[in-house]
């Protein structure tokens, strides 16, 4: 226990916002995570010492900027165990990564009568790109449903997959239910049916080790800002063979080899997909976030988040008017708890918690089909990061226990 407190202090000290604002219990980590000084310093150093437009200049400074940018790519490659840095494309965020696949891959290879299979628990960012691509091609968009615990069975999945399924897109961890899908197994089934497998790693990459070769997914999308990196940098991993077959997504500078009046040849991977001036400082920040993760280690990160997840389940379940969506087992939540409170609208809950300095999310969490499937319009969500403490969970629960009274219900 004393150990945990010392570790809490040691970790929190490194996050300026967390450290400077003890009055805030920040429990909206699924939306975005706070940033360690290590990341902020790395970005500042880049701008103060190495800023130039990467990949363009022939002078030393530009080459250093390029090196920094490419070092970040290598850090990402290692972090998700991709085979080759050519398979790591920098984007703005997970949403852009998924759109890249939706535009470039899906719109090139989907045919009329084909099927795209997603799940009922997808974030709008892993739903709308497929809805649009399917519409454009005259393909069908199909959904696999989960049970009330959020579990998607292989039987249900097999029922929906056919020889016309070309693309399967699935989140590894749900941003609403916190449940983890067995992506490795589903990717295998998808491949047997001849489909490519797109994994939304926005909620998994920041919380569990993700190995793209072990999972054997064809694409993986995630955002830097959900793992302590800056906003505005994201990653698309794609298998080299697929990325090579795909046309560019955006056209312009940096993604070309030669341009003549009527034709152009495109740059090699990964630059083919990185048109225009890149977000080098963002990539450097993400690289620093990865170093920070490596330093702390997933063992510690997961132990802390599992501890917080257990406490959250224990303490929320003790309130009879609080109802948690999804599994009763904290191991299936990955620190993400979405709940309702009898008689109180989620926006009022979030506003009252805010009055006590507890920051949570209220609304549909960009997953309206799931909300409908779960027979609710809007809910409240608390989600942990590894810098959160048991004391903060206590503050959440204490504030929640006053909500009904403040609303005049009891």
């Amino acid at each position: 226990m004393a150990d945990r407190k010392a570790m809490d202090d040691e970790i929190r000290r490194q996050f300026p916002l967390v450290n400077n604002h003890p009055e805030i219990a920040y429990l909206d980590n699924s939306a975005t995570m706070q940033k360690p000084s290590y990341v902020l310093d790395a970005m500042r150093d880049f701008y103060e010492e190495e800023n130039a437009n990467p990949l363009r200049g022939l002078y030393d400074l530009s080459m250093r900027a390029t090196e920094q940018y490419e070092n970040a790519r290598e850090l990402v490659r290692k972090f998700i165990n991709a085979e080759d840095t050519a398979e790591i494309i920098f984007t703005r965020n997970a949403t852009e990564s998924l759109n890249l696949v939706g535009y470039s891959y899906a719109r090139t290879f989907l045919r009329e009568g084909d099927e795209v299979l997603i799940t009922i628990m997808e974030h709008h960012s892993n739903l709308l790109p497929w809805m649009q691509a399917a519409k454009a091609a005259g393909a069908a968009l199909k959904y696999v449903e989960c049970d009330e615990n959020g579990h998607i069975s292989t039987e249900k999945f097999r029922e929906q997959i056919t020889d016309r399924t070309r693309i399967v897109a699935m989140t590894q961890i749900s941003n609403v239910l916190g449940v983890k899908n067995d992506v490795k197994e589903f990717a295998k089934i998808a491949h047997e049916a001849g489909a490519v497998f797109v994994c939304d790693g926005a909620q998994s990459v920041p919380h569990i080790p993700v190995d793209v070769q072990d999972l054997d997914v064809d694409f993986l999308a995630f955002s830097g800002h959900k793992m302590g990196g800056p906003m505005g940098i994201g990653v698309l991993y794609g298998k080299r063979k697929l990325l090579e077959e795909m046309p560019p997504f955006l056209y312009g500078g940096e993604m070309i080899e030669y341009v003549k009046r009527d034709s152009a040849t495109y740059a090699e991977l990964p630059h083919k997909f990185e048109a225009g001036t890149v977000n080098a400082a963002g990539a450097v920040g993400l690289g620093a976030a990865i170093r920070f993760y490596n330093e702390i280690g997933f063992e510690t990160i997961m132990e802390r988040e599992e501890y917080l997840s257990r406490r959250m389940m224990e303490e929320l379940s003790a309130l009879p008017y609080v109802h948690i969506l999804g599994s009763k087992d904290p191991a299936n939540h990955h620190g993400i708890y979405t709940f309702t409170v009898d008689g109180v609208h989620p926006h009022d809950i979030a506003a009252i918690l805010d009055e006590d300095g507890v920051d949570v999310r209220a609304g549909h969490h960009c997953a309206q089909p799931l909300m409908k499937f779960m027979h609710t319009l809007s809910t409240t969500r608390a989600s942990v990061g590894f810098y959160n403490t048991g004391e903060e969970i206590g503050r959440l629960v204490k504030s929640l226990s006053t909500v009904r009274e403040k609303m005049g219900i009891v």
Partner: protein, 147 residues
Amino acid sequence: MAHNTFYNEILTDHNLHPAHKHDLPDANMELEGVNPSCGDDIILKLKVEDGTVVDGAFVGDGCAISQASADMMLDLIIGRSVDDAKHLSDIFLRMIKGHITDEEKEELEEASVLEDISHMPARVKCAVLGWHTMDEMLGEDYEKPAD
């Protein structure tokens, strides 16, 4: 964080025991108002005769602020002329932006408890939902009966 809760008794009472949340079969005007980002969704029903809001009600779902605000609005406008209703709406919307006089605030009676919403930008849409819906109903499409 020792500040008082925004959710005072007037607000919670209008939310829990709204006087005007019910169907209105003889309404002659009806419009749905939605906040897509929050899921607040009300249907405002008015019975307007000879330029007067004779009766009014609402049904739907939403947070306490959206529900209480619609209820307080109906308290104010039932029995008043359409012009008065529009005038009150104008004051209310300006109150939310923080630009009204004390006299104007008095005209809003209980609805003035929502004044502090101007410091809660995320909730402004909830507070104005009923008023905006009414404005739209009584706006350009509303044909003033000839005197």
